[in-house]
């Protein structure tokens, strides 16, 4: 397979996943912002901070929902905005048209112009509808890939791209929580903190799944456990790492050689396995999350190196 093809498929899936993840991030921001006292905590700023988009702010002072929607949903100049992600996913797909099925192409092709020329005020008015639409488009695309795409290396690259992006976004969501974390003295698991933790679960569509695993009790340790090391929840970091490992092993077999990326994936796997039962919180959630993010970034670079992107 041409390296460019692998590269395009990897990024096509990544951008589409990123669009969905950013939609989920905005959902979470909305939930947190309606909690009492949110104005003092500047929670929208933390949303910008975890996506690395604080630089797009045009003014000083507290960040508003309108700022964030402008930057993360609509701004065509911001490479991380949902609009940009949809355009880029389509551009990547178009240059490897022959490697996509007709249905996959249609799923990409129908999305990319949705937010063109949309005003911030209009987007704000129906924000949940827009965000749901983004999630639906990503689901349709993944569905067409699941049921129609040949299981050759191209499928592996697309799957790895999607899983990598999803793992990173779950990590970033946890980091938002870090930035707005209450002082250490606050009673953990109660009051505002409780709502913040559960809004992370809501954003990842994991609240019910969580209840099935842990019953009705919300403790930060268990939520972190669920989102990082649980191997059955599809948006957990461990699940995504499992998926990447599987596809990386397939690629290694196909190319007849293991490479650095396989080792890094194994390292991530071991790290998460050792992180059960609140270990990450003990060590400091922010530091643990940052470490995982670092490893996933390294993994992405190694994949590009190993397969000559």
């Amino acid at each position: 397979m041409l390296s460019r093809t692998a590269d395009n498929l990897f990024w096509m899936a990544r951008y589409l996943e990123r669009a969905e993840c950013t939609a989920r991030l905005l959902t979470m921001g909305q939930r947190m912002a309606v909690l009492p006292g949110s104005a003092y905590r500047d929670e929208w700023r933390s949303v910008l901070r975890v996506t690395g988009c604080e630089g797009f702010l045009q003014h000083e002072g507290p960040v508003t929902e309108a700022d964030v929607v402008g930057i993360l949903l609509l701004d065509p100049e911001n490479p991380a905005s949902i609009q940009s992600c949809l355009v880029r996913a389509r551009a990547n797909g178009r240059s490897v048209r022959t490697k996509l099925t007709q249905e996959m192409w249609e799923a990409l092709n129908e999305s990319w112009r949705h937010f063109e020329g949309c005003a911030v005020a209009d987007a704000l008015r129906e924000l949940p509808v827009h965000l749901d639409w983004v999630k639906t488009r990503a689901s349709v695309f993944r569905g067409t890939m699941e049921t129609g795409m040949m299981r050759h290396a191209g499928h592996d690259f697309a799957r790895i791209g999607g899983a990598l992006e999803r793992a990173q976004m779950t990590l970033r969501l946890l980091d938002v929580k870090y930035y707005v974390l209450l002082p250490e003295t606050d009673v953990v698991g109660g009051g505002r903190d409780h709502y913040q933790w559960t809004s992370v679960l809501h954003a990842l569509s994991g609240i019910r799944a969580y209840h099935h695993v842990y019953g009705g009790v919300h403790t930060p340790a268990q939520i972190v456990d669920f989102l990082m090391v649980n191997r059955t929840f599809p948006r957990s970091v461990a699940f995504c790492v499992d998926q990447m490992r599987t596809h990386l092993v397939r690629l290694a077999k196909e190319h007849g050689t293991r490479s650095a990326c396989n080792e890094t994936a194994d390292e991530l796997f071991a790290l998460l396995k050792a992180g059960r039962n609140g270990v990450f919180i003990e060590r400091g959630l922010h530091e643990s999350v940052q470490h995982c993010l670092l490893l996933t970034n390294r993994l992405a670079n190694e994949i590009a190196d190993s397969y000559h992107f």
Binding site: M1, R4, R97, T98
Partner: protein, 469 residues
Amino acid sequence: MSFFEMHDSEGGIRACYAEVKRWIDETGTAGLHRRLEEAEAIFRRIGITFAVYGEGGDPERLIPFDLLPRIFSRLEWQRLDQGIRQRAQALNAFLYDVYHRGEILRAGLIPQDLVYQNEAFRPEMIGFDPPGRVYSHIVGIDIVRTGPDTFEVLEDNCRTPSGVSYMLENREIMTRMFPELFHRGRVVPVDNYPAQLLRTLKEVAPPACTGDPVVVLLTPGSLNSAYYEHSFLADLMGIELVEPVDLFVEDGRVWKKTTAGPKVVDVIYRRIDDDYLDPLAFRPDSLLGVPGLFHAYRSGGVTLCSAPGAGIADDKAIYVYVPEMIRFYLGEEPILANIPTWQCGTKEGLAYVLEHLSELVAKEVHGSGGYGMLIGPKSTKAQIAAYADRIRANPSGFIAQPTLDLSTVPTLGATDVVQRHADFRPYCLVGKRMRLVPGGLTRVALTEGSLVVNSSQGGGVKDTWVLRD
């Protein structure tokens, strides 16, 4: 009165059209229109589109498709087949000659300046022997019919003729929708074209190639108007569709960058113009292209199909001399005639053309796609005067031909079967041997009386049948 290909001179139905005529009558035009909608839905879903340069609007426009096939009898095809092969052979012989000793120029049959001063002539190719001495591996010859027995060549395409995907897709749609028409097996199939093309490309592997040649199709990218055709052909041949960035040159060979490291490439079917192939050899300002590609080609590390410089053979100014080429190189009389052509570059030609412009079709020597031409009888006095000024400003840039009485073919009109003018482009493959799939692309002018069949100017396409008997 134009020759209508469905009728004989007494107005009866010609034998080769008998069965289709029966089918048309049985189905009725309303029925045909219903089926046409189905066909168009299929085309749109597959995504067969043809972008048109410089027109704005929808770049992924659907080319109109006409349901009624254009039919050649076995005898008609036999003659076409011989004429097309003859021409393709002579054109390649001419290319070899002008990049070597130039015998035909020394013999005074073609003016030297016309070749050596021509923009399409590539001095870099002088003295080089391409594998099999083939320069143009796919020769597309545009043919018009003016009577029951007269086929004439409108122009040659020796670089990278496009449109063959329509030949294949049109037949595919017709067999899928009207299997009953093909049941008796009288229509000769064309679907082996991709296999034949691949065989042809493999036959011209470079000296450095060991083992089964690796062939790739080089496209400028997904924004090119013929990108659909590029991906379609690559798919059907099972070869990689590459862009210039996917290739590099090292140790005199061309490599494609794959996930498993560099893999060698032997033959490149390129759908990129000469100018953009290699910035080191041709246009240095080109961002496209593979640096060093031309050197690898000249030193036998890779084969480019078609060869750089093949365009000199399909230049409109050279066209006039193709019958001479056939006599000179093959010692035969041309089976397919040329259309009488006046070259404005000559004194007599210019005088004649300026005087008779209102009866002639005038074209730019380097134009293509039906752009920048003047159809005298259909133009206003002002248009003719303006065009005459353009010719006077640069006489050698223009040629003129009589307005041809093109034949018409049955075409589905709003309420009835109507007659529309058509031309024909077969694709002759040249490798170690010559191959010609019995068929080609029929383009049809969809407006009544119109002579312009280019898809960029509102022309359509239809399936072309060659009957077994």
